[in-house]
Structures are given as structure tokens and as C-alpha cells.
């Protein structure tokens, strides 16, 4: 009951004309960003973040969350119309969405994707509302030891569940953590890692610089290399008859959609997993439980609905640990977290006590964003068809300029812009060599918290390392972390017997397997 009252208060904030406008603006921008091949929610949030200085901090977060939300809807658009996922989260949508478009049912596929996204979004937002307050209450008992253990746990999920090559994941986590220590030492105040004695490094490396570099400049370079041939846009018309047919078809898929939503929400909470594997898993489950599994991949509408419910649910799920524990569940929420810290709103349990207006305003804005997204998505389908024909060079030029100016704006140092270019080129090369970028961004955002909590605990306990194991919660987290860390080793022992070469870093093998069976 308490939650409902708080949520009602939240609606009083999120239904303010300014915030309502921001939600609509953010969702529309997100839809277009998501629909553009190569740009996903994380790129959108990274590029737009510096522009959000124009509104007050709490509205800025609502704007970014709305972009995140919209991008999840938009990803499906290019999956269906171009056959290229608009973002990695919409990969599974191409399996059946593309065949449907080729059979002339592009409109139906888009309606299915939008409705499924709405259902997934709604179910996960309700789950979010239910879990947020209790989880924040638990988190109130956290001291520095628990914080450290939890951050460590978040990183080990990348090793155990991320599905990327293990040594490469470890490299990226360490690189992010080391980069986060640049600047002044938190405890002693001494300068450290001031490369080349450049004054720009004294203030540290902002998460925004890395994000704009890796996800803005790097992503564009990556897309330029991949864009040898320009794809053809399949036209899509939406008639009211089709809308009705689509909704009736969706009405038969409640089981698939609710399964996808729950799966997506809980997978999304894990830092390492997120929306892409959640969507692939939901696709696999829908296929396994279907009466006609052979029709999947040839244009089955259920194959569009399942991944779309899951990826939207996952994006909401990844907001939950970010807001309640201060541990982001995805790279995009890591950027949201960084943005919130920049604006002086430190996520975590205290936020629920100190800024209930903001927290519940944000939560309730997810409801309005979800509603706005489904309406705008269906209404703007003709516009998407037009926008996807926009020359790629125009998009690139605009994004590059925003990267340069957006990198300069927050601190007004050209030093940061140079770093963005360096991270852009570096990120592009690392990504080509199968180094995962998500742990890098997460590590840079969480690094200061990890080091601070580690050293605080040790100082308080006079250097007793066992202190981390003496507190029950922190001991549990650490044990889980150890399990996740040795998990791939166990897996390695078993795959030795098979022909699987441990050298081949296949993308997300664990989740891919559920897809194929």
C-alpha cells in the first residue's frame, strides 16, 4: 500500500507538463536513435547526455531514461525494415521480423514488436515498482564491506555469465578500474597516474569521455567499416485493419509474452547479461514451448513478440540494481548512474530516503514513457521508413559533431576531446578484436566506489582482510563472486572433452546454446 501511495506521489511529479513533454521528447528521440542501424540505447544516452544540461537534473534523468526506453522500441524497426538490428538488443527480432517483412507483413511485424514491447515494459515496470522499495531497504544495511563485495560480484558476473572471452573480459575490467584511479587519490589526496604531466588528468577521466569515445566515435568508425553496401528499406504501411489483426494475434500470445517479460526482467538485473541475451533466451524459450517450433525463423509473429518483450523488460530490470543498490545492470544504466552522480543524485538506498520525489517521479515516468513509446512508435512508422532512407553520412556527421562538442561542454577542456578521439580509436580496435566494451564502462563508473569501499573497510578494521568475510552479507556476496569467477574454469574443463576450442571466442556461447536447441 505504501508503494502505491509513493507511486501516486511520483505521478504528481512525472505528469507535470515539463516532465511529460520531456518523456515524449525523449521517447521520440530514443525511437529514432534505436531505429538507426549502429546506434542503440547506450550510444544515444552517451551522445545526448551532455545536451541534457539544459533541463534540471531530475528531469534530465527522466529524459535519459525515456531515451533508453524509446531506443528499446526503436531497435525493432530496423530489424524488421532493414534486416539489420538497430541495436544489438534487437538481434533476435531479425530472425522472424525480417522474413515477415519479406512476405509483405512488415506492418504486422512492427505492430507486434511495439505491442510486445509495451507488454514487456508494463510487466517489468510493475515488477520494478514492487521490488524497488524492499531492495532499497535491504541495501540500507550495507556498509563499505558490502559495497565492495557487491561491486566485485558485479564484475565477476561478467567473467562467469558474460559469455565473452574470459581473459579479454578481465583485461577490460582492469583497464576500466585503472583508468578510474587517474587523478587525485581518494584517501591521501596525492596525484597519481598523471600521464605526461598533463594538467587535464588531475581531475580524472570522466565516464562521459570514455562513453562518448567508445560508444560515439568508436561506434561510428565501426559502422563505417561495416557499411560497405547500403541496405534496402522494406516499405511498411499501417492500416487500422492491420492494427486490429495485429492486436488480435498478440492476444493469443500472453503466455509467450509474460514468460519473456519475467525472463527479461530478471536476466536484465545481472550486470553482465542484459537485454541482448535476454532477448535471445526468450526467443529460444518461445520456440521450445511452441507447438510448431519449425515455423520459427520463417516469419512467425511469436518470434518477434518474445524477444521484444524480453529486451524491454530487461532494460527496466537493469534500472533496478542501479537505482536501489547503485550497481548498474547494463552499460546504459552505468551512464545513467554516472550522469546522476554528476548531478549530485547518488543512486543507492539513501536516494529513496533523501529524494523520494525524484525516485518515484522517475519510476512513474517509466509508466508514462512506456505508454508514450507504444503510441508514438505505431503512429510514426511511416516516418521511420523515411528516416531510414536518410544518407548515412548525414547521421555520421551530426553524431561526430555532437561527440566533439558534447565532450567539450561539461568540463570545457579540449583535453577531454582529445581523450574522446583516443578512446574512440582504441575502442574501435578493441571491439574488432572481440574485447567487450560493457565491462570497461561499468568498471570506470564503479571504480571509485570499489576502491573507496575497499580501503575504508581496511582502514576501519586496521588492515584485517578477513573483515570482508566476517559480515554475513558481504561474505555471501564474496562467495557468489568466487563461484562466478571459477565458473568458466569449470566450463573449460568440461568443454575440453568436446571439440570446442577454448581459443575460439564465440560470442555469448552460453546464451547462444539455448537459442539453438
Amino acid at each position: 500500500m505504501d508503494t502505491l501511495a509513493l507511486l501516486a506521489d511520483g505521478f504528481a511529479t512525472s505528469l507535470l507538463p515539463l516532465n511529460l513533454m520531456i518523456v515524449i521528447l525523449g521517447v521520440t528521440a530514443g525511437l529514432f536513435i534505436g531505429a538507426m542501424p549502429g546506434l542503440g540505447s547506450v550510444n544515444g544516452v552517451a551522445i545526448v547526455l551532455p545536451l541534457t544540461f539544459i533541463v534540471p537534473p531530475s528531469s534530465a534523468i527522466i529524459l535519459l531514461a525515456a531515451i533508453y526506453y524509446g531506443a528499446m522500441y526503436g531497435g525493432a524497426v530496423s530489424s524488421v525494415l532493414l534486416g539489420i538490428p538497430g541495436a544489438s538488443t534487437a538481434v533476435a527480432t531479425t530472425f522472424d521480423g525480417r522474413p515477415m517483412a519479406q512476405q509483405g507483413k512488415a506492418g504486422l511485424a512492427l505492430i507486434a514488436a511495439a505491442t510486445a514491447s509495451f507488454v514487456g515494459g508494463t510487466i517489468s515496470v510493475v515488477l520494478f515498482t514492487m521490488f524497488a522499495a524492499p531492495l532499497a531497504d535491504v541495501a540500507l544495511a550495507f556498509g563499505p564491506a558490502e559495497e565492495f563485495a557487491l561491486v566485485l560480484l558485479a564484475f565477476t558476473t561478467f567473467v562467469g555469465l558474460g559469455g565473452d572471452d574470459v581473459p579479454k573480459t578481465i583485461v577490460m575490467i582492469c583497464l576500466g578500474l585503472v583508468l578510474s584511479t587517474v587523478g587525485l587519490d581518494l584517501i591521501s589526496g596525492q596525484p597519481r597516474l598523471i600521464f605526461g604531466d598533463l594538467p587535464g588528468f588531475y581531475s580524472g577521466i570522466s565516464f562521459l569521455v570514455l562513453a562518448i569515445g567508445a560508444y560515439g566515435v568508436g561506434e561510428i568508425l565501426y559502422t563505417i567499416e561495416k557499411s560497405r553496401t547500403s541496405p534496402t528499406v522494406t516499405p511498411a504501411k499501417i492500416t487500422f485493419k492491420e492494427l486490429g489483426a495485429g492486436l488480435r494475434a498478440m492476444n493469443r500470445m500472453w503466455k509467450t509474452m509474460s514468460l519473456g517479460s519475467f525472463l527479461g526482467f530478471f536476466v536484465g538485473m545481472l550486470p553482465a547479461a542484459g537485454a541482448t541475451p535476454a532477448a535471445l533466451m526468450a526467443y529460444g524459450v518461445a520456440r521450445q514451448t511452441s507447438k510448431q517450433p519449425e515455423t520459427f525463423g520463417t516469419g512467425n509473429i511469436e518470434g518477434v513478440a518474445a524477444p521484444e518483450t524480453a529486451n524491454n523488460a530487461a532494460s527496466t530490470g537493469s534500472l533496478l540494481p542501479m537505482l536501489t543498490l547503485g550497481i548498474p545492470g547494463s552499460p546504459t544504466t552505468a551512464l545513467l548512474l554516472g550522469g546522476m552522480v554528476m548531478w549530485g543524485l547518488v543512486p543507492g538506498p539513501m536516494l529513496f530516503i533523501e529524494q523520494p520525489d525524484f525516485v518515484w517521479g522517475l519510476i512513474s515516468s517509466l509508466y508514462t514513457a512506456n505508454f508514450a513509446a507504444v503510441v508514438i512508435n505505431i503512429a510514426l512508422i511511416p516516418l521511420f521508413v523515411w528516416a531510414l532512407r536518410m544518407p548515412f553520412a548525414v547521421l555520421c556527421a551530426i553524431v561526430m559533431v555532437l561527440c566533439i562538442v558534447g565532450g567539450f561542454a561539461p568540463s570545457q577542456k579540449l583535453h577531454d576531446v582529445w581523450l574522446i578521439i583516443a578512446f574512440g580509436v582504441g575502442g574501435y580496435l578493441l571491439r574488432k578484436a572481440d574485447y567487450p566494451l560493457a565491462p570497461l564502462v561499468l568498471a570506470l563508473v564503479l571504480g571509485p566506489l570499489m576502491e573507496k569501499s575497499f580501503r575504508q573497510t581496511l582502514i576501519a578494521e586496521q588492515g584485517n582482510v578477513l573483515a570482508f568475510f566476517e559480515r554475513p552479507l558481504s561474505a555471501t556476496f564474496l562467495c557468489l563472486a568466487i563461484v562466478f569467477f571459477i565458473w568458466p574454469l569449470v566450463g573449460l574443463l568440461f568443454t575440453r572433452d568436446h571439440k570446442d576450442h577454448p581459443h575460439v571466442p564465440s560470442k555469448r556461447p552460453k546464451f547462444a546454446r539455448t537459442k539453438k536447441t
Binding site: L175, I187, L221, A397, I398, V401, E461
Partner: protein, 166 residues
């Protein structure tokens, strides 16, 4: 791909060594007074782990037979690589130009080059972007947010505009 893998692993190891050398300027051991690690310990030991992980990637490329899939694929797409290099070079030139010629000359030049010369698009789209983007930047960042972009030698030409908006 295999060669690129090795070069990148070696590069990361060199980077870790550089980080470790920098981090070692601060105490990296146990601080007896406070009972915690010193200020340089965190970056130093993490760089050490990074170096070991990169080393294991490097060793791995020598230990196993080259796998069938993807190993003989070239790391770069030879047709598109020149484009990537060109765009990167253009970006570097643009940023280098900003402190001297100002953002309002460097950025439109970049957009013009990208859309017209590199992208080979028509004049209508080129001109609307080359003019539209700086106008948007001025009104968004300078007039609204009061964030001044660097202007280099063009600074005096902006004085009348400043007088209008500030």
C-alpha cells in the same frame, strides 16, 4: 586476425607496464600506519592483473592450432579501411584546428568535408547541414546553456552576438 590479436595483446601489456610504472610513484605496498594499501596499490596491482590476462591471451595464440573460423580472415576490411583512416584523420585535424580557428570554423569544415567530399552528397543537404549545425550549436550551447565554445581568432566577430544574447 591472429597477428592482430597478438599485437593488441602486446600493446595492452605495454600499456599495463606504463600504468604500473606511473602507479609505483605512490606507495604500492601495505601502509603500516593506517592498515590499508597505499595510494598506488590499486592501480598497480590491477595493471599487473591486466598484464597477466593479456599475457595469457598472447600465449594462447601460440599454443593452439589456428582455429578454423575467423583466424585467416583479415582484421581490417581492406575496402573500407581507407574510409576509417580518412574519417579518423579528419577528426584529428578538426580537433587540432579548434583552438586556433575556433569551433565555428573547424566543425562546419568537418561537416562540409564529410557530407560533400567524403559522402558525395548534393549541395542542398551539404549547405543546410554546414550552416544548420553551427547555428544550432550556438543557440543550444552558448545562448541557452552559457557554455562558450572555443573560437580562436574568430572571437572578435562574436562580440556583437554576445551583446545580443548575454
Amino acid at each position: 586476425m591472429l597477428v592482430a590479436d597478438r599485437i593488441i595483446a602486446l600493446g595492452i601489456m605495454a600499456l599495463s607496464a606504463y600504468f604500473m610504472w606511473h602507479a609505483a610513484e605512490l606507495p604500492i605496498g601495505w601502509n603500516a600506519m593506517t592498515g590499508g594499501p597505499g595510494g598506488g596499490a590499486f592501480p598497480f596491482w590491477l595493471s599487473a592483473i591486466m598484464m597477466l590476462a593479456a599475457l595469457s591471451i598472447l600465449i594462447r595464440t601460440f599454443r593452439y592450432e589456428p582455429p578454423e573460423k575467423g583466424s585467416d580472415e583479415p582484421f581490417f576490411d581492406s575496402v573500407m579501411l581507407p574510409s576509417v583512416v580518412k574519417v579518423t584523420a579528419a577528426l584529428i585535424i578538426t580537433v587540432a584546428l579548434i583552438p586556433y580557428a575556433g569551433a565555428y570554423i573547424a566543425l562546419p569544415l568537418f561537416v562540409f568535408w564529410y557530407v560533400k567530399i567524403y559522402g558525395k552528397h548534393g549541395w542542398a543537404i551539404t549547405l543546410s547541414l554546414t550552416i544548420g549545425i553551427p547555428v544550432f550549436l550556438f543557440f543550444f550551447f552558448e545562448a541557452t546553456l552559457k557554455i562558450l565554445l572555443p573560437k580562436g581568432f574568430t572571437e572578435p566577430y562574436f562580440f556583437p552576438l554576445y551583446a545580443m544574447f548575454f
